[in-house]
Symmetry: C2
Subunit: 138 residues, 2 copies
Amino acid sequence: MTSRLTEINVDCADPARLADFWCAALGYAVLDATDDLVEIGPRRGSDAELLEAVRRGPVAPSLFFALVPEGKTVKNRLHLDLSPIDGTQADEVARLEQLGARPADVGQTGEESWVVMADPEGNEFCVLRSLATGEFEV
Amino acid sequence: MTSRLTEINVDCADPARLADFWCAALGYAVLDATDDLVEIGPRRGSDAELLEAVRRGPVAPSLFFALVPEGKTVKNRLHLDLSPIDGTQADEVARLEQLGARPADVGQTGEESWVVMADPEGNEFCVLRSLATGEFEV
């Protein structure tokens, strides 16, 4: 028996706003939305097509943004790492700042190959070296 | 420009132990390991093949388990949701308990369609209805 990772849930104060940010960051679309829960992801067709896909192998998970009453209090124990696929790492960091992200300090030295940022609700994430440029050693 | 979600990072006290649990949970393999950082994921070939894959579209991210000095203090702001692909939801919950997970209480009513659990370091995750049985309405 096994399971697939099909969803990542993010507790938040403003599901629509955070979904907008992450749609723009990852090129995702809103798949379903209520006032307190928004799902975004790659468009993957019907439930039957999802079932077929997960039987073939692991898939790209949807992201769910769920309204919760409590705020963020500590550095997140889980965080997402993004790989730019066109343009440089610096280009992507600048684009994400335009979308509402900001630099974050989690104690990094500044010598790392990744850039630490936070989304509009302060959720830390990293921008890795670009897969599309010589920054990334293939 | 866009980025792909290629990695999920989990801060932890025992990277090897947590990697073992999640490998068994998801059918993943250890892709890289040091004392303080273990990467697991679906086997995806060379870096060049990863680059080709992310150019085609979103991919299943690797999971990184990174040693950190601080412990878990609050409910995680991000959590993973798993979809059983063979067997029932109850079968999968029992299997995950055998692997070291345990039931978790995050205030759920018990009426939800998902089961809330925690991994061996207390990271909350949910087991959704099985995709393989009549529990899931295709």
